[in-house]
């Protein structure tokens, strides 16, 4: 037992150091390697974390949905642990994206929040995953919680394309200031963007692994506590 926890700790430290090295490299690349954007200047560099954090959030949402479907199919608790760990990370990465967005938007567009289709849809997405996490805090029995939240996670995931389509349609029918019309991306910028995404995916995997172990431990402790109560020790 002691040897196992020691090797767990060692591997945690190893993977953490590796992830932080990736993140440091990504920061360096975003700040110094990527060329400066002509019109927006230095503030545009937030893009290298703003965009990849959404991509990572989508990866987390996919993981939550996969875990939820797998839980319903197999009724094995490990899938619920994966689902909740990924859902927390989805909420975290969506929050990073939604906070870095206004920091970028204010100097460039002149407003913190432009009500454009993508931002608004992402906010609705964020609300869905936060309410999923709220639901989990309000159901006590583990199996019941796993089942109910799996159904909610699946319904939320099905809703994602509908939310994006409806808000996009709504926005195209109502005139909007033209902002961020895509355009040309310098190949060096593209490379740095992918590097930053790689670093965030590494962070996602590291946190997913640690959070999963925490959830597993939590369930073991709960099991022991119930055993103690049952035997009246």
């Amino acid at each position: 037992m002691a040897a196992k926890s020691k090797s767990n700790l060692a591997s945690s430290v190893f993977w953490s150091l590796l992830t932080f090295a990736c993140l440091a490299l990504a920061c360096y690349a975003a700040l110094f390697v990527a060329p400066e954007e002509k019109t927006m200047g230095v503030i545009q560099r937030i893009f290298y974390f703003h965009v990849p954090s959404f991509w990572t959030a989508f990866l987390a949402i996919f993981t939550t949905t996969y875990g939820s479907v797998a839980y319903i199919a197999t009724k094995k608790m490990k899938w619920d642990w994966i689902a909740v760990s990924a859902a927390e990370l989805a909420a975290a990465f969506l929050t990073i994206g939604l906070v870095t967005g206004p920091i970028w938007a204010k100097p460039v567009w002149g407003v913190w929040w432009a009500w454009d289709a993508r931002t608004t849809s992402t906010f609705v997405l964020w609300a869905m995953y936060v309410s999923y996490l709220l639901l989990r805090t309000l159901v006590d029995e583990p199996e019941r919680r796993a089942l109910l939240s799996a159904v909610v996670a699946i319904f939320s995931c099905i809703d994602v394309p509908l939310v994006y389509f409806s808000i996009w349609m709504y926005r195209t029918q109502h005139p909007q200031p033209v902002i961020g019309d895509g355009g040309y991306l310098d190949p060096r910028m593209g490379k740095v963007l992918l590097e930053c995404w790689g670093a965030l995916v590494a962070l996602f995997l590291l946190l997913l692994r640690e959070r999963y172990r925490l959830e597993k431990m939590r369930s073991e402790v709960d099991g022991l506590r119930m055993e103690v109560e049952r035997r009246g020790l």
Partner: protein
């Protein structure tokens, strides 16, 4: 027993319970009416503004009402543990969900039917020329609201703080229904009334997608 017959029986049971007291219908009606009147205090709508914003306010009021009135759907079965009896009945579990869903859609639709003339009067809109198309939009939006609402009320019935939790879970999921139905309704109240087929198709798609999801995953909600 076939799915249709079982669903019909559950629907009849739900409607019979409601018709004995009519508590849910009358309370919801008063709630939506209050919200519609209170909305007009926050801005003093001109004729154009009423046409532009009225439909959105109506749908927002209905969404709020739905997230409150769908709450008792499953909680009602807990007092005498009648859900266990339904579970033991020799019918598909989906029939229970579908029957309750249909009952909720009927309640909401009844409330809307009574409210529409009052809403038209309050916001000075003419509904008669577009009545058929308006009812179609109302129907599609209501089915979407009742489907997700009934499934989520089965979820929250087993949680704490359920009165608050149901709206929190339901409102983000229903954002597409709010947009689709209020946009379609705005079109019907514009100078040259038209029915935007994109939104009709979209609302139909929403209903079909979530009815299918309820059919696939709904039964897990009643498992012991």
């Amino acid at each position: 027993m076939s799915l249709a017959r079982a669903t019909g029986l559950i629907l009849a049971k739900e409607l019979r319970i409601e018709l004995r007291s009519r508590a849910l219908l009358s309370t919801t009606f008063v709630f939506v009416l209050l919200v519609l009147v209170l909305f007009s205090f926050t801005f003093d709508p001109t004729a154009t503004e009423a046409r532009r914003f009225g439909p959105g306010l109506l749908w927002l009021a209905l969404l709020f009402a739905g997230s409150l009135m769908l709450q008792p759907t499953f909680v009602r079965e807990q007092a005498n543990d009648t859900l266990s009896a339904l579970r033991m009945a020799p019918i598909e579990p989906f029939a229970v969900l579908l029957g309750k869903l249909a009952a909720n859609a009927v309640y909401l639709f009844l409330v809307e039917l009574i409210l529409l003339p009052i809403f038209a009067g309050l916001y000075n809109l003419s509904i008669l020329p577009v009545l058929g198309r308006l009812l179609l939009v109302m129907f599609l939006g209501t089915v979407g609201l009742a489907t997700t609402g009934t499934v989520f009320s089965a979820v929250t019935a087993q949680a704490r703080l359920r009165e608050l939790l149901l709206p929190v879970l339901l409102l983000p999921i229903l954002a597409p229904v709010l947009i689709g139905s209020s946009e379609a309704t705005v079109g019907l109240f514009s100078d040259q009334p038209y029915l935007d087929t994109t939104w009709v198709v979209f609302l139909t798609a929403f209903d079909v997608v979530f009815l299918t999801a309820a059919w696939l995953f709904g039964e897990y909600l009643f498992e012991e």
